[in-house]
């Protein structure tokens, strides 16, 4: 069943919009529940271990980043898009670009920040960071990561 986003532009096909699996606002307190819900959806969509665990970890790291640096909360949208499981996490913080994620893993005696996003990008088949709500003047970031199901 296709569940198109009513806010999406009319020319975008339902297939491109994907099938919405989960939409949820979160705070730090809700992260354990969020992990459970993401794991449930990933299992239902056929994502097997160890990729499922990696996906949940990546989602948690990005959501945790939003909680820590973007005012304590964020919004998650999980969709099935073609053969991918796609997670989009948006926040209303100051925003950031992918350039802040280190190219190489920082050494254990190096910077303590950035490893979570570094690992999230590493395990994703598709990863992007964009400004929040472009054209609206709103701040924030939208992080998208996706993994292939097959």
């Amino acid at each position: 069943m296709v569940n198109p986003d009513p806010a999406g532009p009319a020319e975008v096909s339902a297939e491109e919009l994907g099938r919405r699996l989960l939409q949820r606002r979160f705070t730090a307190r809700l992260l354990p529940q969020l992990r459970l819900l993401v794991e449930e959806c990933a299992a239902r969509e056929g994502l097997c271990e160890p990729r499922r665990g990696e996906f949940v970890l990546a989602v948690d790291e990005i959501a945790g980043n939003a909680v820590e640096h973007a005012g304590g909360s964020g919004r998650l949208l999980l969709r099935r898009v073609g053969d991918e499981l796609e997670c989009r996490i948006s926040d209303a913080g100051p925003g950031f670009s992918e350039a802040v994620i280190p190219e190489l893993l920082p050494g254990l005696d190096g910077a303590t920040k950035g490893r979570g996003l570094w690992l999230a990008r590493l395990v994703a088949d598709r990863f992007a960071v964009a400004a929040g709500a472009p054209g609206t003047g709103m701040t924030g970031a939208v992080v998208t990561l996706a993994v292939r199901l097959r």
């Binding site: 949820r24 819900l37 794991e39 299992a43 239902r44 820590e68 254990l108 490893r115």
Partner: protein, 296 residues
């Protein structure tokens, strides 16, 4: 390096339950009570198992369904197709009215067979033990059932959680039932426990996430201090359902700094091993990763 998981693994996070497990959990308030059952139901449905929920008598079915469904209504279709069934002990043993262990186990065995015949991967049941008082059953009869139910689980795709409300049962009964079950569950999602085994192994259980990072770190620091004379420490991560990047890095940096130790062995599953390596585990002297192959 690999090894069989032969250690005592009585306490688990609910996400680690597998077919054949018979688990105890207790709760003490009406909010927490829903965390384990919700995880158990949702993960069971996602894994293709049939799920039977016998809530505490007196809790309205609408509340049970609303709690299981929150915040997404993913259980609605499962109920419609019969994969999720909310019932009661009274209904399970019908047309009989008196509970006997043999009668109840016979019905659950039949339900397990029916579930597999219907094409499900197995049956999982959540049983709130509030039924004991509701049916006027002798606590002794309930205890005998709990301690003598092995046949229901051995070699069968059946998983069961027995949930005890600590406000309803005597503390001694709850403690005895916790010991009587092969498994016991953490009461809350997102919780972390650390145990030191008699062999000195530091075992983490639950979810080592950002909220628990300080607890995780402190347990490691204490364990390293306690094993300074031995010059070796074993850390078991296999009962963690979640291990964050931050906790993994703390484990690596503390191991690297433990210059007085000759060896820090970390028992881990395949995914944890891969993450430890990705985050620089290969550069840490004295660190040995032992991948544990679970029996299930």
């Amino acid at each position: 390096m690999s090894a069989r998981d032969t250690g005592s693994d009585h306490l688990l996070p609910v996400q680690h339950l597998r077919p054949g497990d018979h688990a105890f959990v207790s709760y003490g308030n009406d909010e927490v009570r829903w965390e384990v059952v919700t995880a158990f139901v949702r993960l069971g449905l996602a894994r293709g198992e049939k799920v039977l929920v016998l809530p505490c008598p007196g809790v309205p079915e609408e509340e049970v369904l609303a709690r299981l469904d929150f915040p997404s209504r993913s259980t609605v279709s499962a109920r419609a197709r019969g994969q999720l069934v909310v019932s009661s002990m009274r209904e399970l043993i019908r047309p009989d009215s008196e509970f006997t262990a043999a009668r109840q186990m016979s019905r659950l065995g039949a339900e397990t067979e029916r579930a597999t015949a219907e094409g499900y991967a197995g049956l999982r049941a959540f049983i709130d033990m509030g039924w004991v008082a509701a049916l006027g059953t002798d606590v002794g009869a309930m205890e005998r059932r709990e301690t003598g139910a092995q046949a229901l689980f051995t070699g069968r795709p059946y998983t069961e959680i027995c949930a005890y409300d600590r406000r309803r049962f005597d503390r001694a009964v709850v403690s005895a039932m916790e010991r009587a079950h092969p498994r016991a569950l953490l009461e809350r999602l997102g919780s972390l426990r650390s145990l030191r085994g008699p062999d000195g192994v530091l075992c983490f259980i639950g979810e080592a996430d950002a909220a628990n990072q300080d607890t995780f770190t402190r347990s490691l620091e204490i364990a390293l201090a306690h094993t300074a004379a031995l010059r070796r420490l074993t850390v078991d991560l296999t009962r963690l359902h979640f291990l964050s990047v931050g906790c993994t890095v703390r484990l690596l940096t503390l191991t690297r700094a433990a210059a007085g130790h000759d060896l820090v062995e970390v028992r881990c599953d395949r995914g944890q091993r891969r993450m430890l390596r990705r985050l620089g585990g290969g550069t840490v002297p004295r660190l040995v990763l032992t991948e544990v192959v679970r029996a299930w």
